[in-house]
């Protein structure tokens, strides 16, 4: 996966970068920005940078990111190398870089990682505050994940977020007697029952699926007003709200397509594309895979997106997986690193990247809501403010490593799955989830 930008590549990328630069200025023109002086960051002599980030979602995610990096290299003369590593591996590699004090200067890691390694990172407040002022402020989750907990100091630069609203077939929902997805739990259950009756069932992952499984489990808990931990980080999952959510799932589960207990992350995409499943929750990848496949065009046209049903909380009970950049203290060129992050977030670079990613990443700086990508397809609307969702992994507690571990260990997913499978009563399942969560929040 690791790729080094050689001189030859730079030349080739340079040409591409020029094209993107022209495109960038054109596209970025509609991004409103305030006239704010950029922080003064004298670049160290002989600076070089190594950047580590997760593998791409879609091809432009990588090509435009590389082109932007080449542009940075051409503009500043700082030799910069970007390595792409697998999704599952980047956490471990971040940990190793942090522990050993060597390796990449910048890591674009996941959500809470900057807070986990807070002591090993340099503060980025100057860059973050400048960007915030210039581009209309940071979104809710951008702000939440960028700052060190309980302080106003920035230790991360959130690049984007990926969220999973409902994707459904308009024709099926209409046939079931609904115009859109109801926000009320009772009505929503009726919709799913009606879908089951006309043999066009819904399906949500209840297997060990890190993204989809946790997204669904979080929705169940949050939409009932429950939460994993309270404001102080004390485990509070064993509550009457959780029991209500578990009882609700018992009614919801029989309406699903069979086999969701063994679903992994790709399963719902496959079942939806095959026309077996008519309503699910997913990132925009589901829609784009269909849209780009001529054979599936009809399904894509019939597909609509909507935020997850509000339930009792009056706002979408969903979060967003944040791509979060951090600069390690072991970097010999902190100013160069900060300059790089700032450069990548400026409209001339960021907007083409955002546009190229087709909505896979939702922006974190509010001004980018004006980006052309969001008007390119009306079905992307729900992803536009994906990082303004008011929930986060480990809600309501402080951002912590423990919340990530609970998600990686499928604690909530398995709580629901055990009740759906009839292996445990709601009370037993909630108690078990509490016991397991306590192990991490201690």
């Amino acid at each position: 996966m690791a790729t080094i930008i050689t001189r030859r590549d730079t030349l080739r990328l340079g040409a591409g970068a020029a094209a993107i630069a022209a495109l960038g200025e054109q596209a970025a023109a509609q991004i409103p920005r305030a006239d704010v002086a950029a922080p003064k960051l004298p670049i160290e002599n002989g600076a070089t940078l190594r950047v580590l980030r997760p593998a791409r979602f879609v091809e432009p995610d990588e090509t435009i990111f590389r082109a932007n990096t080449a542009k940075f290299q051409a503009a500043t003369g700082i030799e910069t190398r970007v390595d792409f590593v697998g999704w599952e591996d980047i956490r471990q590699q971040t940990a190793v870089a942090s522990n050993t004090g060597t390796g990449p200067d910048i890591v674009l890691g996941w959500a809470e990682d900057p807070n986990v390694y807070a002591d090993k990172l340099i503060e980025l407040s100057d860059v973050a505050e400048y960007l915030g002022k210039r581009y209309g402020g940071w979104s809710f989750l951008g702000d939440k994940y960028g700052k060190r907990q309980k302080t106003n100091n920035w230790i991360g630069i959130p690049f984007g977020g990926s969220t999973g609203p409902i994707a459904y077939r308009r024709s099926a929902v209409k046939e079931a007697g609904f115009d859109k997805i109801p926000n009320d739990h009772g009505e929503y259950l009726k919709l799913l029952q009606a879908l089951k009756k006309i043999n066009k069932p819904a399906g949500f992952a209840l297997g060990n699926a890190v993204g989809d499984g946790n997204g669904f489990a979080h929705w169940l808990v949050w939409s009932h007003g429950g939460y994993l931990v309270d404001e102080d980080g004390k485990v509070a999952i064993n509550s009457k709200e959780t029991i209500a959510a578990l009882n609700y799932l018992k009614e919801l589960y029989p309406t699903f397509i069979s086999g969701t207990l063994s679903w992994g992350d790709p399963s719902n995409n496959r079942a939806y594309a095959a026309g077996d499943c008519w309503l699910t929750a997913n990132g925009v990848s589901l829609y784009f895979a269909l849209k780009n496949d001529p054979a599936q065009r009809a399904i894509a046209e019939d597909t609509e997106h909507q935020a997850l049903p509000f339930g009792l909380v009056g706002k979408p009970p969903q979060s967003s997986l944040i791509l979060n950049a951090m600069v390690f203290r072991h970097s010999k060129y902190p100013n160069a690193a900060k300059t790089y992050l700032q450069f990548m977030m400026e409209a001339e670079q960021y907007d083409p990247w955002l546009t190229g990613c087709l909505g896979y990443w939702s922006h974190t700086l509010r001004a980018y809501a004006k980006s052309a990508v969001w008007d390119s397809d009306p079905k992307l609307e729900v992803y536009r403010n994906g990082t303004d969702n008011q929930f986060w992994s480990g809600y309501k507690g402080p951002i912590s490593h423990a919340a990530g571990a609970v998600a990686a260990e499928y604690v909530l997913v398995q709580m629901f799955a055990s009740v759906a499978a009839g292996q445990a009563t709601p009370q037993e399942a909630a108690r078990e989830a509490e016991r397991r969560s306590r192990r991490y929040f201690r």
Binding site: E88, R91, Q92, T94, A95, S98, N99, V116, Y117, L206, G207, N208, V210, I257, S258, G259, T260, L261, S262, W263, G264, S267, R270, A271, A274, D276, C277, H401, G404, A405, A408, E409, Q414, A417, S418, A421, Q423, E432, R439, Y440
Partner: protein, 319 residues
């Protein structure tokens, strides 16, 4: 003068030479020198990781943070952890059922292959295929075969033959998922057993069978009193390997179910990985891995000392 010089210097040279030679003739030194590379490799690549694993099991190390010594706390937690006990149960169950299956079918296959068949070598090569294919690839194939929506078995049963009206839900509930994984493991393990036992079968001298035939032995008696006892030594070795491989299996289970549904198919190895790497709890993961050691030691000792005993092989009276 010069002569005395020469005479004085010569013996000294000779002793110098013989000092090196003596050193290399000194057996303990020579043994040490020769063993050093091997011992070094073992220390670096076997003892150190094993020791580190055992050490980690007694600490609260997580990914990203060094741990401190916490004694038996990890084991105490695991002792009360139903998921851990489920994994222990399934590891033992998976190993015993899959081993019986593999050896039953493998022995049968070996006996068939031992006959004179046309295209014998090609047949034997084909039989080895499941074992040659990287495990992850066969795991992915089985993952599709067991898929709730796109299973070929469901397709044939429902859409082609019409004998069922619902798709099979192989991995959706605990017991079907467990049996499905065992079936995949048996499929994968048969060739190894069959080919190893075939090698053993071919060392048995045909004169024994001829003698038995003259004595009027039936087919079953020939297997029971000639084939089986003479095969036992190799059976013991193959079984030891097979038990160890099966017990510490990881790829099949992780690629097909990730331990689901609701942890019912976690083996100790997959649970150790799940807790240690994605869960980030290295100490606890190591503790689970260390808990596998007694089972493996027991299995090895059982195979060596029980199956390889002469009395079992050649009857009670034969010492």
């Amino acid at each position: 003068m010069t002569a005395t010089f020469d005479i004085a210097s010569l013996p000294r040279k000779r002793t110098e030479q013989s000092w090196l030679v003596r050193l290399f003739d000194y057996k303990p030194f020579l043994v040490t020198i020769c063993l050093l590379p091997a011992a070094g490799l073992l220390l670096v690549f076997l003892t150190y990781p094993l020791g580190l694993g055992i050490w980690l099991a007694f600490t609260d190390t997580t990914i990203g943070r060094d741990g401190k010594w916490i004694g038996l706390e990890n084991f105490e937690y695991l002792f009360e952890d139903t998921i851990f006990w489920q994994a222990v149960f399934y590891s033992v169950f998976y190993t015993s059922v899959a081993t019986v299956g593999k050896f039953g079918l493998g022995l049968w296959l070996a006996l068939l292959l031992n006959n004179h068949l046309p295209f014998k070598s090609i047949l034997r090569a084909i039989i080895l295929l499941p074992w040659i294919v990287p495990t992850v690839l066969s795991a992915i194939a089985f993952w599709w075969i067991y898929d709730p929506q796109f299973s070929i078995i469901s397709y044939v049963a429902v859409d082609v033959l019409g004998v069922r009206d619902k798709y099979f839900d192989f991995l959706g509930s605990a017991w079907p998922a467990r049996w499905s994984l065992i079936a995949a493991n048996v499929w994968r393990g048969i060739p190894f057993v069959a080919i190893s036992l075939l090698a053993g079968l071919q060392t048995i001298s045909p004169t024994l069978y001829e003698a038995a035939l003259i004595d009027g032995a039936t087919g079953w008696q020939r297997i029971r009193f000639i084939t089986f006892p003479l095969l036992l030594p190799i059976l013991a070795i193959v079984m030891t390997f097979s038990i160890i491989f099966t017990f510490s299996d990881f790829q099949l289970v992780y690629a097909i179910t990730r331990g689901g549904p609701v942890n019912s198919t976690h083996l100790m190895a997959t649970l150790a990985f799940q807790r240690g790497i994605p869960g980030g709890n290295l100490g606890e993961g190591a503790a689970i891995a260390v808990s596998m050691i007694p089972f493996l030691v027991f299995a090895t000792l059982f195979s060596y000392f029980a199956l390889a005993r002469r009395k079992w092989q050649q009857g009670e009276s034969n010492d």
